[in-house]
Structures are given as structure tokens and as C-alpha cells.
């Protein structure tokens, strides 16, 4: 299946004349060298695809270029080099009208500090994209009410953002981004400004929504735990470039660079890695007994692993078909933090 977003060799440079600089720049120029030349590499030669219904989490520290990258996907930033295709269409070739149409019909975005319009009520904020689209008052009210209910804000439709708590404000932000029923959903650190308790609650809420809606999602965070908790795949960024882009299991088990490894160090891997992630090809080994579910986390299998008598445990996919085997020792090492 063709990817929904496909970025190839994307560059975003900031500086006096970035196009020209990029054209004349020798290959393999590093971030710091570019900075010495008076340019900042916001996004540095990034290639990544996002598949339909996939949740890609972009993780990085502040200044790593993650926000810039996601703004390139929606062309809030014009890229300096490379191509970005959305549903097979090069978005840099769109004119203003088409770009507006694309955003009006396919994209929704949630912001770290909510980006609500302070002079509009909850309902008016949620209905804002519909209003821009020129929908009539009645339909947009109906739709806005529906989304407000979806995010659990019924009863507060007439409040102003100022009158809401942070978590509630972000619910408005989420509702607004969903109002037009977008195919692609961008979330830029949506929960970072919230208290830890609220954050957790919002993450659950978010997972619930995603289960229901099944959108294609690009989610940005600087919180590795959050990334591991939500992602289908994680792209870890540093200095504008992607260090590694893979499933959480792979990143935890096989960090590609030293930088990535440092992130994974303090992680309780058993809470992240799935049985599937530890499974090895069968290679003719004898498989005995009932398999474990490949989607289960090692931590959730802890009791079973301790009591297990088999050294080699079969792993099955969601249909119950055995896809490989897991060494009990590997799993126990992970569980005990020796891995």
C-alpha cells in the first residue's frame, strides 16, 4: 500500500539564502559546519514514510528539528530541498488555493500550547475550520457539537478558552483538529504542557480515540516514555536528522547509534518489548506446548516466564499462528534488567 506521507531527502535550512547554499553545499556537511556557515539545518536530509493508519512518533530533544519536520509535512514551512508527497501528490507543487483545500479536507493539527482563539467559545473554536471551509451555520454547529461530545466536553460549549483548565483546553484543540474529519492527524507535543497525571489520562483518551478513528498520525514528543507507549514506529531525531526510525521493540533492543542507546538505557525494557520482538526464527527447532501471544509485553508475561519450564517458548501472531520462538533466558534477562 502506498504511504500517505512520503518524504525523500528533505532539507529545511534557515538563513539568508538557503536554496542557493544547499545547491552549492558539498555533500556530507555536518550540522555544526553548516552552522558555522551561518545557516541552521532545521531538517537535514530526512527520508521517511508514513503508512495509512500508522502512528509515527517523532522523538527528539528541543531543537532537534522534530517540530520543523512536522511543519514541513503540512507545508507550514516550505522545504529547501527534497520532496514531500501526500497521497502521492508533491505538496511543494501546490498553489495557495490547492494547499488551503488540502488542509481544509485532509489535515488536522494539535498544538503544544493549544493555539486556541481566545475570543471564541469552545464551540466556535471547534467549528472554526468548518467555518473557514464555508459550511453553513447549522451543519457546522451539528458537527462541532458531535466532536465536542467525542472529546468529553459537553456542557461547556459556550465557555471561553480562558475559563477552562489546561487539559480541557487541549481537548478543545483536539476536537478542533478532528472537526473536518482529517485523514492525517498531526500532533505537536500535545500533552507536554499538561501535568503528569492529566497527561497520562489524555494519552489514554488519545489511544481510545485512535482506536475508534484509525487516523494516519504523526505525533511529536520529547518524552521517550510517551513515544514508546503510543508509537507504531518511532523516529528519533538529532540535529535535524533522523538517527533511527523503527518499532519501539527494535529501538530498545537494537539502538542504531550511541545517541539512541543513551535514551534506552534507563528504560524498563520489559515494559516496552513484546514477545514478538524477542522471537527468533524457528529454524527447525522443536516447538512444544501452547504459544504466547506475540502482542504481549514481556512484563505482562513475567509470572508465566518465571514458572515456565520450557527453555524455548513459541510465539504466535494475533491469529494464533506460530511465527517464531523466544528463548526463556532472553526474556528473563530483559525482565531482570540484565539485557
Amino acid at each position: 500500500m502506498a504511504p500517505v506521507i512520503s518524504a525523500k531527502n528533505v532539507w529545511k535550512l534557515f538563513g539568508p539564502d538557503p536554496e542557493r547554499y544547499l545547491r552549492d553545499m558539498p555533500a556530507d556537511r555536518g550540522f555544526d559546519e553548516i552552522r558555522a556557515d551561518g545557516y541552521i539545518a532545521g531538517v537535514k536530509d530526512v527520508s521517511v514514510d508514513v503508512g495509512k493508519g500508522e502512528m509515527l512518533v517523532i522523538m527528539g530533544l528541543s531543537g532537534s528539528g522534530k517540530s520543523t519536520l512536522v511543519r514541513c509535512f503540512s507545508r507550514l514551512h516550505d522545504i529547501t530541498g527534497g520532496t514531500i508527497e501526500v497521497d502521492g501528490q508533491d505538496i511543494m507543487s501546490l498553489n495557495e488555493r490547492d494547499l488551503i483545500d488540502l488542509r481544509r479536507s485532509k489535515m488536522g493539527m494539535v498544538f503544544q500550547s493549544f493555539g486556541l482563539l481566545p475570543h471564541r467559545t469552545v464551540l466556535e473554536n471547534v467549528a472554526f475550520p468548518l467555518e473557514m471551509r464555508g459550511q453553513d451555520r447549522h451543519t457546522r454547529r451539528e458537527r462541532a457539537l458531535e466532536v465536542v461530545r467525542l472529546v468529553g466536553l459537553e456542557g461547556r460549549e459556550d465557555y471561553f478558552p480562558r475559563e477552562l483548565s489546561g487539559g480541557q483546553q487541549q481537548r478543545v484543540g483536539i476536537a478542533r483538529s478532528l472537526a473536518i474529519e482529517p485523514d492525517i492527524w498531526f500532533l505537536d507535543e500535545p500533552f507536554s504542557a499538561l501535568d503528569p497525571l492529566i497527561r497520562r489520562e489524555m494519552q489514554d483518551e488519545f489511544l481510545r480515540l485512535q482506536e475508534m478513528l484509525g487516523k494516519t498520525i504523526v505525533f511529536i514528543t520529547h518524552d521517550f516514555d510517551e513515544a514508546l507507549r503510543l508509537a507504531d514506529r518511532i523516529a528519533i531525531m538529532k540535529d535535524g536528522a533522523i538517527e533511527q526510525c523503527d518499532t519501539p521493540d527494535e529501538i530498545v533492543m537494537h539502538p542504531a547509534t550511541e545517541y539512541v542507546r543513551k535514551f534506552t538505557e534507563d528504560i524498563d525494557k520489559a515494559r516496552v518489548v513484546h514477545a514478538r520482538g524477542l522471537s527468533l526464527p524457528i529454524n527447525g527447532a522443536t516447538v512444544e506446548g501452547p504459544p504466547v501471544d506475540g502482542r504481549a509485553r514481556i512484563q505482562d508475561l513475567a509470572r508465566q516466564l518465571v514458572n515456565e519450564t520450557r527453555e524455548v517458548i513459541p510465539v504466535a501472531d494475533e491469529d494464533g499462528k506460530v511465527i517464531g520462538v523466544m528463548q526463556r533466558k532472553d526474556a528473563l534477562d530483559l525482565l531482570l534488567g540484565a539485557g
Partner: protein, 661 residues
């Protein structure tokens, strides 16, 4: 990065304060020139720019204006505007407010109806206090017998303010959107903000016909700059996420501007509205000089016939209007939208509007039957003009007062002001320019010094050097004296919790009192001479110094004073080594404003009797010498700008050093 740059600046100021070769060079050159002059060996062209070198700027400007005005036909356009739409609007408001016989032939609206409606508005915006202020102002005006003239002023204000708002908004948007507009507008704004108001008046009269139209135009132009500044500021401050949210919602450019940017910049725009209203009110009073009827004209007439008490009462009315408009518009800035519970009936949601309209209608109808509700004649009014006159005369007859003012007059005039003026006039022009350059270099650094040099050279070639120096002398004297009064007053007030509010209220009042009202007491206390002139300016310039001293001291971060307390600093040590240094950048803003006010007031003080630019400017008002008027105005503006650039640059550097930005 920030750290290194502040260190740079810190090093630079310290160095320039001690021994900077440029500074020493400039000073040395100036002293050489002065010594040469004292010895009689200075070439005369270095003493004063010779007459024949002075370009006929005024005449050239006159030719240009004559060309634009007549040959290009601009006057037809401006007169068309003046006699068409503008006059139409002014006539309409004039009819409603004081019954000028023009369309829509409905007015005058009874004073009770207006007072009641504004009281309700006041209540909506700020509760009972605001209601009392709003309604009370109108009741006072009516009872004191100034209703008609106050309404003449208001009828221009309510036309001029929206225009100034709209034009300022559009220009502000343009400057925010297009870099080149911004670059074009910035210097023009700086000049406009320092230009003496006399220079606004004459072109207005020539292009827009004497009377309310010219008054309205001058008022509009005067009030536009802050609106432009606040608009750009507000638009720039809109959070990038709100902007991106707008874009992601698929806004077109127009939708972005009208649905996202402007509403999100509401607070700054309303602060702009507040400033527009205040400047409009100040200017509307001053336009009396070009024949605008209303409070200002009445005040001038009262002063012209030596009616101090009545002048004072008009002054109070103006202050009340100013405070009312200021507080109401500020309350509007702070008024945030609030949701109504579901199911609130519509009449309850619009209770204030309905109440206001109802009261308005009730009083309108009552006024048809009861004369008192419609109009209060002179004989029924409660003016105490004569009693105030007596009180003032009684005060002046007190021996002690006389002794003090006589001594001050003698001391300041003979021992301070006249010697100071004569020595400034003695300095050769060339040396003077170098001294100014050195001063601005010392205060503000290189850029302000270059501008100072250029500006004063232009002044030297304008042909009005001596008068410019006298203007500057008056300004400097007044600012120094007001520093001696204002800063200690501010330091004293900032010590306690309740004094600042009282002093700031006094400041507000002193500042909104129409400036020329101070002239009469100044003369009566000191006679027609420089002491009276300086005194009148000092009243005005002390205000910002006091205000910003209080502000600066009170906004010192509490952790810093706490740290000083924990280090065992005494009150005195704390004030001198912690609070004052931290407050200095803010105080510099006050100092700068004091200088700007002084340049404003020195022009008005021409009515006492001076030999400076103000006197010449005042003289041009009567005639049609537009070129001369503008040259004189620009001289004032250039001097003011020189100080503005230097002081503001100092304050900014200092703030960076202290990390206050």
C-alpha cells in the same frame, strides 16, 4: 550567545564612561574651538553659520507646497474631503450633541439621556465606580454650565477617534505585512511624535478649511502614530501556534487577518484605542488655536479675559473627561468575554444594552416636558468662577507667598537661568555640535552620536540657531529642576504602599489638565520671564519623572530585594545599591518622556513670552508661512529626536546588562 553580547555591551559602556578616545577627541576639539573663540582667533564661520550659507529651506518648501496645493490640485481633493464626507459627519454629530442645524435634525440629545446611557456603559465595563465616574462627569459638565462647549468638543472627538483608529489600524497592518512600509513609516512616526503641535495645525487649516474640519484633521493625524505602533506590536505578538492553527484550519489570507490575527491582537488594539482617545482629547483642546470651538476655545477665551476661576473649572471638566475616557477604555481592554449559562433568556443576556437604551429613552422623553432635564442655562448653573478668582487673588496677596516667589524669581533668574542661557549662546556653533555629539556618544553610543551630529548640523543650517539654543536651554533647565523635584518625590512615594496610588493619581490629573492652563498661575507667581516659563514646563515634566521612578522602584524583582535583605543591607544601602540601579533603565524612560514633554510644553510657553522657536511658531499660525512653520517644527523635532535616540539607546543597553528585557 546572549551572555557574550551583554558582556560586550557592559564592557563598552564602562569603557566609554572612563576614557574612550572618541569621547576625549570630541571634547578636546570642542574645547579647542571654544578657546579659539575666547582668544578671538576663531573664523566667524565656525562661530555661527553665515547668513549666505543658509539654504532658503522655508521658501523652497513654500514653493513645493504651492505646487502640490495649487498646480497638482491637492487642495481640491482635500477641500472636497473636508467639505464632503468629513464635514457631513461632523455636522451630524454636532446636530446630535449640541443641536447644530444640520441633518439628521434630531439633536440636541438631552444631557440626562447621555449621562444615564454612559453610566450604564460604565457599570457594564467596570461596576459602580465606573458608572459613577462616567455619569458623574456628564452631570458635572451640565451643572457647571459647560454642556454645549463640552459637546462641541465631543462631537469632533467621536468623529476623529474612529478615523484615527481606522487609519492607524490599516497603516499598522501594512507596516506589519510589508517590510518596506515599515521602513518607510518608522522615521516618519518618530518625527510626527516629536513635532510640535503647532506644526500640525497650520497645514490642516490650509488644506482643510478653518474650523472643525481642520481641527478634526489635525486631531486625526496627531492620534494616528500610537495606533500604528500598537497594531504592529499586537500583530507581531500573536502566538505562532494560533497562527499555525489558523493556517491548518485552511484560512485564506483574508480570513487569517480578520478571523485570526486581529481578534487575537485584541488587547493591544484596545490599548491603541485608549491612546487614540487620549491623544484626540488632548489635541481637540489644542485645536482651539485654529478655531475649533469647544472646551479649548472657551478656555482660551476665559484666559484672554482673565477669568481664572472659570478657566480652572473648564480645566476640571477636561480632566474629568480625560480620566473617564481613559478608565472606560482601559476597562474595556480588561473586559474579557464571559459565557452565559445555557438557557439564559435573551433579555438577560443583553440586560445592559436594554437598560441603557431604556434609560436613554426615558430621559429623552422626560426632557421634552421638563426643561431642566434638557438643558441647564448659564444662570442656573453652579459655576463658582468668581469665588475661585477671589481665592486665587487672596492667595497671591499673602506676604509669605510673595516673599518666596520674589526670592525664587531673583535667584533663578539672575543667578542661574540667565547666566546659563548666556553661556550656551556664547558657545560657537561648531563647538556646540561637537559637545552634543560627545554627550550623545557618552549616553547612547555611536549611532545616537552620529544622528545627534547630523541633526544639530541641520539645525545650524536652518537659520534659527540662536532660537534653537534658547529652546534647548529652557528644556534643559526645566528637566534638571524637575529631576530635583520628581525623583525624590518618586523615591519617597515608592516607600509605602498607599502613597504611590495617590501620587500617580495626582500625576494623571496634572498631565491631563490642559497644558496652557498652567501658564497663568506661572505668570502670576513669577511674572513674564524665564522663571515662569521654566515653572510651567516643570509642572508638566515632573510627572513622568515621578511616575517612572515609582514604577522602576516597584518593579524591582522581589527576589533581588529579598536577597539584599538576607545580605543584611540597611534600608538605605538597599535603596542606593540595589533598588535605584535596577530601576535606572525604567527611570530613563521617564527621563526621556520628561524631555519630550518639555519640548512640547516649551512651545506652549511661548504664550508667556519667550524668544525661542515657540514664539516664532506661534507667529506663523496667524499667517500662511507654511514653509517657515515646518522648518521651525522640524528644528524642535530634531532636537527632541537627538535626546530620544540617545536616552532610549542607553536604557536598552542598560536593561540588557541587567537582564531585564
Amino acid at each position: 550567545m546572549a551572555v557574550t553580547s551583554t558582556a560586550d555591551i557592559g564592557g563598552h559602556t564602562d569603557q566609554s564612561a572612563k576614557r574612550d578616545p572618541v569621547l576625549i577627541g570630541l571634547l578636546a576639539a570642542a574645547f579647542v574651538l571654544m578657546a579659539a573663540y575666547a582668544l578671538g582667533i576663531l573664523p566667524t564661520w565656525l562661530y555661527r553659520v553665515p547668513e549666505e550659507w543658509i539654504p532658503p529651506t522655508a521658501e523652497m518648501l513654500d514653493v513645493v507646497f504651492a505646487f502640490v496645493q495649487n498646480d497638482l490640485g491637492l487642495i481640491h481633493l482635500t477641500r472636497f474631503i473636508a467639505e464632503g464626507p468629513l464635514e457631513f459627519l461632523l455636522d451630524a454629530t454636532a446636530n446630535l450633541l449640541y443641536g447644530k442645524r444640520r441633518w439628521p435634525y434630531l439633536g440636541p440629545i438631552p444631557w440626562t439621556a447621555i449621562a444615564a446611557a454612559t453610566a450604564v456603559l460604565g457599570y457594564y465595563l467596570g461596576g459602580w465606580k465606573m458608572a459613577a465616574l462616567a455619569g458623574g462627569t456628564f452631570v458635572w459638565t451640565a451643572l457647571i454650565g459647560q454642556w454645549d462647549i463640552a459637546m462641541q468638543t465631543m462631537s469632533v472627538l467621536i468623529v476623529a477617534a474612529p478615523f484615527a483608529f481606522l487609519i492607524g489600524l490599516l497603516l499598522g497592518i501594512a507596516a506589519w505585512k510589508y517590510k518596506w512600509v515599515d521602513r518607510l513609516i518608522k522615521p516618519i512616526l518618530s518625527i510626527l511624535q516629536t513635532l510640535p503641535f503647532f506644526t500640525y495645525l497650520l497645514p490642516a487649516v490650509i488644506f482643510f478649511k478653518v474650523g472643525p474640519t481642520a481641527g478634526a484633521v489635525a486631531t486625526i493625524i496627531y492620534a494616528i502614530p500610537p495606533m500604528i505602533l500598537m497594531t504592529t506590536l499586537g500583530l507581531k505578538k500573536v502566538s505562532p501556534e494560533v497562527v499555525e492553527a489558523g493556517k491548518m484550519s485552511g484560512c485564506t489570507r483574508w480570513q487569517m487577518l480578520t478571523r485570526v490575527y486581529l481578534p487575537a491582537a485584541r488587547t493591544e488594539l484596545l490599548v491603541g484605542v485608549n491612546q487614540v482617545i487620549m491623544l484626540c482629547l488632548a489635541m481637540v483642546v489644542l485645536t482651539a488655536f485654529i478655531g475649533m470651538p469647544g472646551l479649548g476655545a472657551k478656555l482660551l477665551a476665559m484666559m484672554g479675559s482673565f477669568k481664572l476661576g472659570r478657566s480652572f473649572e473648564i480645566g476640571i471638566t477636561i480632566v474629568l473627561f480625560a480620566i473617564m475616557l481613559d478608565r472606560l477604555s482601559k476597562a474595556w481592554v480588561e473586559k474579557q468575554p464571559y459565557h452565559h449559562e445555557k438557557g439564559t433568556p435573551w433579555w438577560q443576556q443583553h440586560a445592559y444594552l436594554l437598560g441603557g437604551v431604556a434609560l436613554f429613552v426615558i430621559f429623552y422623553i422626560l426632557a421634552q416636558f421638563i426643561d431642566f432635564f434638557a438643558e441647564i442655562g448659564r444662570r442656573q448653573s453652579f459655576s463658582k468662577g468668581k469665588e475661585i478668582d477671589k481665592a486665587i487673588k487672596g492667595f497671591l496677596a499673602i506676604e509669605g507667598v510673595n516673599a518666596v516667589t520674589d526670592w525664587l524669581r531673583w535667584f533663578l533668574n539672575v543667578k542661574v537661568l540667565i547666566p546659563f542661557r548666556n553661556s550656551l549662546l556664547w558657545i560657537p556653533t561648531s563647538a556646540f555640535i561637537l559637545l552634543i555629539t560627545a554627550l550623545t556618544y557618552w549616553i547612547g553610543g555611536k549611532r545616537p552620536a552620529i544622528w545627534g551630529f547630523i541633526f544639530f548640523t541641520i539645525i545650524a543650517f536652518s537659520g534659527w540657531w540662536d532660537r534653537s539654543v534658547i529652546t534647548l536651554y529652557t528644556v534643559i533647565s526645566a528637566v534638571i529642576i524637575s529631576m530635583l523635584i520628581g525623583i525624590p518625590l518618586g523615591v519617597f512615594a515608592a516607600r509605602s504602599a498607599k502613597w504611590p496610588r495617590r501620587i500617580l493619581l495626582a500625576c494623571d490629573t496634572a498631565q491631563t489638565f490642559p497644558s496652557f492652563i498652567y501658564l497663568i498661575p506661572a505668570i502670576m507667581l513669577f511674572g513674564v520671564n524665564d522663571v515662569a516659563v521654566v515653572f510651567a514646563i516643570v509642572i508638566f515634566t515632573t510627572v513622568p519623572l515621578t511616575r517612572y521612578t515609582i514604577e522602576g522602584l516597584r518593579t524591582v524583582p522581589p527576589e533581588i530585594t529579598e536577597a539584599a535583605d538576607m545580605s543584611g543591607a540597611t534600608r538605605r544601602q538597599k535603596r542606593w545599591s540595589v533598588q535605584l540601579p535596577m530601576a535606572l533603565p525604567t527611570m530613563a524612560v521617564g527621563f526621556n518622556q520628561a524631555i519630550m514633554f518639555a519640548f512640547f510644553m516649551v512651545i506652549i510657553a511661548a504664550f508667556i513670552g519667550t524668544q525661542d522657536l515657540g514664539q516664532e511658531l506661534q507667529r506663523t499660525l496667524a499667517g500662511t508661512e507654511l514653509g517657515k512653520n515646518i522648518v521651525l517644527g522640524l528644528n524642535v523635532s530634531l532636537m527632541a529626536l537627538t535626546f530620544d535616540l540617545a536616552v532610549m539607546s542607553w536604557a536598552e543597553n542598560r536593561k540588557k546588562v541587567l537582564g531585564l528585557t
